[in-house]
Symmetry: C2
Subunit: 413 residues, 2 copies
């Protein structure tokens, strides 16, 4: 395949992570080096920025600030949740994108996101091919949820897992200060896949983790849960429970929808209260045991805690962006960068390329054989899998005792 | 005053901090060095450990583990909330303590805590004096709330402030990823004093902080709050609000007691819902603006986040413990170690000793002249006060990518 000369656009999509900007830095720094890439643009709010022609000229940014993006959380360009229609049904958006691509001579499109975003990538690529517009489209993976198909793990997961495991260890110690009883419920993100909640098992591996861990991969049984909590409470006076926000009962109903006002919602399908799952379960535990309870939701903190990022994750996120650019320049298109772990005890991870069609709209859950029954945690297989991903401290620089995050000029074209 | 030979007991009291064990390390490491201190005991769960004769022999701990206590959160010995009766009314506990002190030849008592604990210290000391039992009693300050009287600041505050400011900056970035509107409410600890919530102003100082900050030092007006939120929302589409858990309305009612179910509690004094203040205010904001809202409670995380500790705070906490021992050995009793800042631009802090009677049961709030009206934040005076306290990174060591906290043997005597 010959050299394809033209501009590139990079966009960020879906929920942010604490290292999504490390992938952006990887794309930008590599693209700025490539002779065949004439201009490097960042799309503001993902494909919405393409449709609205809101593009910033990355060539005008300071290299030092691009470097700082490696340790700056959240999507520096702005993100979007925008589902493209099928081109067979409605071509409007695709035609508009083609118009913008032509106007700015864009021949490279890099998109950073999860399942949905890889679907978007795929659709755009297929439409441009059909239209006879030569371009190369590459997906860069990201998601704290770690649920992307065909990759060993996802950029963003390691840092979130490190933060969750660390905070769980700290809460474990804190929840034990008094000699009175207490039940603590930790609510972790993860609607369909339990990877993030499973990260609390890393704290257990260090002896400072939850007594019970519940993932969405398994049906949640409230009665069994309460009887297990009661038993541990009677024995230890302290119980720590970690739950995925997405746990459901046997009827497929989210436990978070039960609500914390037991009298109102126990036997009827009430509306979910703002209090959330942690407080809902805390209420049930309080009723069952009379114990002091506390619900803690890691909330947004778990996906933006750059101050506790994993160096491994930061480096791999950067590498994923860099690899996408290199592959596209070499002629590759319609693929997502993925990770493949080498067999053997020492952790070594290589990049590979996966066809977008294979990745789009598929989810990778935790293997059920890694999940112990009755909330009893995860097997050693999971620990061996996850531990290498959280290694190394973030090189986040500090100024006045606080993080110095990247400040982009954002010069619009 | 002559040399007083005998054993020492150290206890931890009240809510823990991420550096309370640094003070313990200061006491232990200094006491182990002093010739006149024959034995070093740690009381399990504070004075309850004294009453129950649950004492551990610190001399049997590894020095490396005592060193690790500097960066280990929560009370390693266990804490307690136990209010001693006035000795004039009931001498039972005091007599029992005297018995234990005599049994183990305890001549030094060090107690680490906040206002209540200094009161406890004071009562014990006065009773022993009255009983003719020679001993030296010293208080070591601690509280994330920073509300202890007669000291420039309290060990524990700097680390909590650093964590809160850092996390606020990260949430600020995360809450801005989409181009849709969002109102985020951050709930920070502090029942009567707003020092912790004020720490979010350090994030504002870096350009990544809340739009509105509400402290318990000022009356909270819901109508004014909602109209201010509406105005900012109309202008920016993003609003970030930081609130102290202890904010009250003009009738002295906690806002957290309003409850998040508006229909039920808006016009009647309903019971506080488990959902908490952040969700309560989020509900009100949602009703007033129709915006997407999110309540985030820093919860226990803010007081145990050793992974984001302030080196200044760690060093000063250690120094406070060390100073208490040195002063007691030199003949001092009935005092608490406090901090005094040297005048001038460069931060320099010295220890001083304050009579327990002066400290006990008094609270230090934020000077009202540091608080801008209508939730508009804090003045530069506050920034100048707080910024030096969060300087320096914690030297917390890692093992397998996770914190390596102290493990005490806890050999009971």
């Amino acid at each position: 395949m010959g050299v394809l000369k033209g501009a590139c656009i990079f966009g960020q999509s879906g929920g942010p992570t604490s290292v999504i900007n490390a992938s952006a830095a990887g794309v930008f720094m590599q693209a700025l080096k490539e002779d065949c890439i004439t201009k490097v643009y960042g799309a503001v709010h993902g494909i919405k920025g393409v449709l609205d022609e809101k593009l910033i000229d990355i060539g005008q940014e300071d290299m030092a600030e691009l470097e700082l993006m490696k340790t700056t959380p959240s999507s520096a360009l702005g993100s979007v949740r925008y589902k493209l229609a099928d081109a067979e049904k409605d071509e409007t958006d695709y035609k508009r994108m083609l118009e913008v691509f032509k106007k700015y001579d864009v021949r490279y499109f890099f998109y950073n996101g999860g399942n949905d975003s890889m679907d978007t990538c795929n659709k755009i690529s297929k439409f441009m091919q059909k239209s006879g517009y030569e371009m190369r489209v590459m997906g860069v993976p990201k998601t704290i949820d770690n649920d992307l198909w065909a990759t060993d793990h996802c950029p963003g997961y390691g840092s979130a897992a490190k933060y969750i495991a660390t905070s769980t260890m700290e809460v474990y110690l804190d929840a034990r200060v008094y000699d009175t009883g207490m039940i603590t419920i930790l609510e972790v993100m993860g609607r369909n896949a339990g990877w993030l909640t499973a990260a609390t098992a890393l704290a257990s591996y260090k002896g400072l983790g939850p007594d019970l861990i519940y993932l969405p991969e398994k049906v949640f049984d409230m009665d069994k849960f309460l009887s297990d909590v009661k038993e541990i409470y009677a024995k230890n006076k302290k119980v720590i429970v970690a739950v995925s926000e997405g746990i459901k009962d046997k009827d497929g109903r989210y436990i978070s929808e039960y609500g914390s006002d037991l009298s109102k919602t126990k036997d009827s399908f009430g509306h979910a209260q703002l209090g959330g799952l942690a407080n809902t379960l805390a209420s049930y535990c309080k009723e069952a045991t009379g114990a002091k309870v506390r619900g803690i939701e890691f909330s947004l903190l778990q996906r933006c805690a750059a101050h506790q990022g994993s160096l491994t994750d930061i480096n791999e996120s950067f590498l994923a962006g860099q690899t996408a650019v290199k592959a596209a320049v070499e002629g590759m298109t319609d693929h997502m960068v993925a990770f493949e772990r080498e067999p053997g005890k020492a952790y070594k991870c290589n990049t590979k390329l996966i066809n977008l069609t294979e990745v789009a709209n598929r989810e990778k859950k935790i293997p059920v054989e890694w999940i112990l029954p009755d909330g009893k945690g995860l097997t050693q297989d999971f620990i061996d899998y996850a531990l290498p991903l959280i290694q190394g401290d973030s090189p986040l620089p500090y100024e006045d005792g606080l993080p110095r995050f990247a400040k982009l000029k954002k010069v619009f074209v």
